[in-house]
C-alpha cells in the first residue's frame, strides 16, 4: 500500500489550487462563502487568495486548500488504451504479414454532425500527426477515411461494402453528451443488423476514454495524444485473437 497525497513543497502537505465562480456578489461575504465551500469538500485549511467580480451577482475565486485525504496508489488501475506498449508502423506490418496474412481493412469517420476532421485525419491520413504516419501509409492495411459529418448508417454500409475488419469512429463535440448519443446509436445499429461481431469497433476523440468507449459497447477508446501506431497495434492484435 502506497499512500499518496498532493504535494506542494513538502511530502504530504496536501496542497491543492482551486478556482471557481459563485453566483453571489464579490466581497468579504463571498470570500468567506468560498472558503467554507472549500472546507466542505474535506479540505482542512483554505485560503482564498483572490476574488473578483464577474457581474453584479457573480464572483470569481482562487483558493489554496490543504487536504488530508489520500489514495492508495498501488490499488489504482490505469485504464487507458495507452501508447506505452504500441508497436511501430514497421512492426505492425510485420505482425500482419506473420499473423494475419492478408491486408487489414479499416474504415473511419467523424460521425453525426461532428465536423472535426483533424482528429480522424491524424489517425488515418498519409501524413499522420506529430511524426507518426497515418494508417493510409501502412502497406499491409487498406484504410478508408470518410471524413466528417458522416451518418452512422452510411459508415456501416460502407464498412460492409469494403468488407472491413475495423470501424473507427471519431467524436470531438461532447456538449450535451452528443458523443454518447452518436456512439450508442452506432452500436445499436450494428446490433440491429446483426453485425456487431463482424467488426472491431474503435472510438476516439479528445474526451473519449477507454472506459467510456467500452461501456458504450466499443472494443476500445482512444483519447487525446493517440497515434495511428496505437490504433493499429490494438486492431491487429485483436484481429489475430479473433481468428
Amino acid at each position: 500500500m502506497k499512500v499518496v497525497r498532493p504535494y506542494g513543497d513538502t511530502m504530504d502537505d496536501g496542497k491543492v489550487q482551486l478556482s471557481f465562480t459563485l453566483p453571489v456578489p464579490d466581497g468579504a461575504k463571498g470570500r468567506e462563502a468560498a472558503r467554507k465551500l472549500v472546507l466542505s469538500w474535506g479540505f482542512k485549511d483554505c485560503e482564498v487568495v483572490h476574488s473578483a467580480p464577474l457581474a453584479a451577482e457573480f464572483s470569481f475565486y482562487v483558493a489554496y486548500g490543504k487536504t488530508e485525504s489520500s489514495i492508495d496508489y498501488d490499488s489504482v488501475v490505469a485504464d487507458e488504451a495507452s501508447a506505452d506498449a504500441s508497436m511501430s508502423m514497421d512492426e505492425v506490418n510485420e505482425y500482419i504479414r506473420r499473423n494475419i496474412g492478408r491486408k487489414v481493412v479499416v474504415v473511419g469517420a467523424c460521425t453525426g454532425f461532428d465536423a472535426h476532421t483533424v482528429g480522424i485525419d491524424a489517425i488515418m491520413n498519409m501524413k499522420g500527426y506529430n511524426h507518426h504516419f497515418g494508417l493510409e501509409r501502412y502497406p499491409e492495411m487498406e484504410a478508408y477515411n470518410l471524413g466528417a459529418q458522416v451518418p452512422n448508417e452510411k459508415l456501416i454500409d460502407y464498412a460492409v461494402k469494403v468488407n472491413a475488419d475495423a470501424i473507427l469512429v471519431s467524436q470531438v463535440v461532447t456538449q450535451k453528451d452528443t458523443h454518447i448519443h452518436n456512439m450508442t446509436e452506432f452500436i445499436e445499429l450494428l446490433e440491429a443488423k446483426g453485425l456487431r461481431d463482424k467488426f472491431i469497433c474503435v472510438a476516439g476523440g479528445p474526451r473519449i476514454g477507454n472506459k467510456l468507449a467500452v461501456e458504450l459497447g466499443f472494443d476500445v477508446g482512444f483519447g487525446r495524444g493517440a497515434y495511428a501506431d496505437d490504433v493499429a497495434t490494438f486492431v491487429v492484435k485483436k484481429l489475430a485473437e479473433k481468428n
Partner: protein
C-alpha cells in the same frame, strides 16, 4: 500609415488582379442563378414570417409548394407568388402568413395583374429597406454618442450555452466585464439545416440556434447593457451555411452588427455545394452591405485544418477572394472583417515573429478593413496555464499590429465551451496586455532583411503562386481538385445542390433589384 514591411505595391496589386480574374467567371455563374434560400430570404424581407405547427417556416412552405406545384416555377422567383397572394387576400401580411402556416398554398391562386404586383412589391421593398436603414442609422448614432468608449481592437466574446436565456445572462456579464462584441455561437450543424428554426430556443449543442426571435432577445438585452455601460455592444451571429441569405436578412432587420459570412466556408468546411454557396453569399453580402453589417470571414479555418506556418498563404489568398466577392456585392472595405488567426505551433522557433509578420502584413494589405483576428485554438491543450501564456502573446500581436476585431482566446479552449470565469480571465488578459503594450505599433520598426520582413514577403510570394495556379485551373475545378484547405469538393456534390435555381427569363426579385441599385452594383 507608413509600411513597416515594405511590401512591393505592384505585387500586391497583381495579387488583387488575380483575385479579380479568378472570381469573374464565378460571378457570371452567380448572376444567372438564385437558390431556395435566396428566394426565402426575399420572402422574409417581403414579410413571410412564422412557421407551421410542426415548425416549418412560412418561407420554406411557400418555396416548397411553388416547387412542388411546378419544379421549374422557381425560375421566376418566389416573391411574385407571395405578393400576388397578399394582394388577393387583402394585403394583411400577418393573416396571409397564418394561412400559409395552416396549409394554404400560394400557387393555388392565379397570378393577378403584373403591374399591381410590382407596385405592391415596391411598396414592401421600400418599407423593409427603410427599416434596415433605420437600424443602420441607430447604430451609427449610438457609436457617435459613445465614441471612444469601446476598446481598440474591439474585444469579441462568444456565448454558447445553447439556451438563449442563459446566453443573455452570460452576454450581459461579458459586456459588463468589457466585451465590445458578443457573438452567439450557433448550435452545431445548424449550417446544414436548409431552414431557419422559428422562435426562442433553449436547446442547442455547442451553441444556440440562430432564430429571428433569438436575435431579437439578445439585441434587446445588449442594448440594455449598452445604455448602462454607455458603450455600444455589437451583436454577431453566423450566416455562412445553407441559409446564409436568410440569416443575413434576419440580421439586417434585427440590427445585428456583424455576421460570419465567408464566400467559401460552407463549401470547404461544411461540404455544402459550391454553386449554391457562391450564389447565396452574393445575396447575403448585398444585404449586409446595405445594413452596415461587418462581415467576418473564416480564414482561421484554413489554419486549424492545416499547418498554420506552411499554409499561411491560404489565408492571404482567401482574404483577397473574400475581398473581391465582397466588392462585387457592393461591400466597402470598412465592412470587410477579413479573418486571420494566431495558430502556429507554440513550439515553433521564432513563431512569434512569424505571427507578428503575418498580422502586420494583413494590416498593410488591407489598411481599411476592420480585420478580425482569431486566437490560438488548435494548439491549446488542457494546460490552462500554457493556454493563458499563448493568449497573452496573441493579445500582444493583436495590439502590436493594430487589429480591428479581437476574438478573445479562452484558456479552456481545449476543454469546454467557455465558463463565465474563463471569459472574465480572457478579458482581463487582453486588457492588461493591450494597455501595457500600447505604443508598440507606432514605436517599433523591423529590420530590412529580418525575420519579420522576409516572412511577409515570402507569404505574399506564395500567395501569388497559389492564385496563379487557381486562375489557371479555374475556381470550380480548383475546389474540386482540393487546392483549398486540402478538401476535395465535387462540383455537383455537397449539401444543398438541389436548392440551386437557374434564373429564368422572367425571374423577378424586387429586393435584389433594389439592393443592386442602392449599392450601385452594375455588371
Amino acid at each position: 500609415m507608413n509600411s513597416k514591411l515594405n511590401l512591393p505595391a505592384d505585387r500586391v496589386a497583381y495579387a488583387r488582379e488575380l483575385a479579380e480574374r479568378i472570381t469573374a467567371p464565378v460571378q457570371d455563374f452567380i448572376d444567372g442563378h438564385s437558390s431556395v434560400t435566396v428566394e426565402r430570404a426575399t420572402l422574409r424581407l417581403a414579410g413571410a414570417d412564422g412557421a407551421s405547427p410542426d415548425g416549418v417556416p412560412v418561407a420554406n412552405l411557400v418555396v416548397d409548394r411553388i416547387r412542388a406545384a411546378d419544379p421549374a416555377a422557381l425560375e421566376d422567383g418566389a416573391t411574385v407568388r407571395y405578393v400576388n397572394a397578399l394582394l388577393k387576400s387583402g394585403g394583411d401580411v400577418r393573416a396571409l402568413n397564418d394561412r400559409i402556416a395552416a396549409g394554404f398554398d400560394v400557387t393555388s391562386l392565379p397570378l393577378g395583374d403584373r403591374a399591381a404586383i410590382e407596385a405592391k412589391a415596391d411598396e414592401i421593398v421600400a418599407g423593409t429597406l427603410a427599416r434596415i436603414k433605420g437600424n443602420r442609422e441607430f447604430r451609427e448614432g449610438k457609436l457617435e454618442q459613445w465614441k471612444g468608449r469601446n476598446n481598440s481592437p474591439l474585444l469579441y466574446l462568444i456565448v454558447a450555452t445553447g439556451n438563449i436565456y442563459e446566453d443573455v445572462k452570460q452576454a450581459a456579464a461579458a459586456a459588463e466585464q468589457g466585451a465590445d462584441v458578443i457573438a452567439v455561437i450557433r448550435t452545431t450543424a445548424q449550417s446544414l439545416l436548409d431552414y431557419v428554426p422559428y422562435g426562442a430556443t433553449t436547446e442547442g449543442f455547442g451553441g444556440t440556434y440562430a432564430t429571428q426571435e433569438n436575435f431579437r432577445i439578445m439585441r434587446a438585452a445588449l442594448d440594455e447593457v449598452a445604455e448602462k455601460q454607455r458603450r455600444y455592444i455589437r451583436l454577431t451571429n453566423y450566416a455562412s451555411g445553407l441559409c446564409m441569405p436568410e440569416i443575413a436578412a434576419m440580421g439586417a432587420v434585427e440590427r445585428l452588427d456583424m455576421m460570419l459570412n465567408d464566400s467559401m466556408y460552407g463549401i470547404l468546411f461544411r461540404d455544402i455545394n459550391m454553386y449554391r454557396t457562391f450564389v447565396d453569399q452574393m445575396f447575403s453580402r448585398m444585404l449586409n452591405s446595405y445594413a452596415g453589417v461587418i462581415i467576418n470571414t473564416g480564414e482561421d479555418n484554413y489554419l486549424t485544418t492545416s499547418d498554420a506556418y506552411e499554409k499561411a498563404y491560404t489565408v492571404l489568398a482567401s482574404q483577397l477572394l473574400n475581398e473581391r466577392f465582397g466588392f462585387r456585392a457592393g461591400m466597402p472595405s470598412n465592412l470587410l472583417g477579413l479573418g486571420h488567426a494566431f495558430e502556429m505551433d507554440p513550439t515553433l522557433k521564432n513563431g512569434f515573429m512569424y505571427e507578428l509578420a503575418e498580422a502586420q502584413m494583413a494590416r498593410e494589405i488591407f489598411p481599411d478593413c476592420p480585420l478580425k483576428y482569431m486566437p490560438p485554438t488548435k494548439h491549446m491543450s488542457g494546460d490552462i496555464f500554457k493556454g493563458t501564456e499563448m493568449n497573452t502573446l496573441f493579445n500582444f500581436v493583436s495590439k502590436a499590429t493594430n487589429q480591428g476585431i479581437h476574438l478573445l482566446g479562452m484558456l479552456t479552449e481545449a476543454i469546454h465551451t467557455p465558463f463565465m470565469m474563463d471569459r472574465y480571465l480572457a478579458v482581463e488578459n487582453a486588457r492588461y496586455v493591450m494597455n501595457y503594450v500600447d505604443g508598440f505599433y507606432d514605436d517599433v520598426e523591423f529590420k530590412k532583411d529580418g525575420i519579420v520582413v522576409s516572412r511577409a514577403h515570402q507569404v505574399l510570394r506564395e500567395t501569388i503562386e497559389f492564385l496563379e495556379h487557381v486562375e489557371k485551373t479555374g475556381m470550380f475545378d480548383a475546389i474540386e481538385q482540393g487546392l483549398f484547405a486540402e478538401m476535395k469538393r465535387p462540383k455537383d456534390g455537397g449539401k444543398g445542390f438541389e436548392g440551386l435555381v437557374k434564373k429564368g427569363p422572367a425571374y423577378y426579385n424586387p429586393f435584389e433589384k433594389a439592393l443592386k441599385r442602392e449599392l450601385g452594383i452594375v455588371r
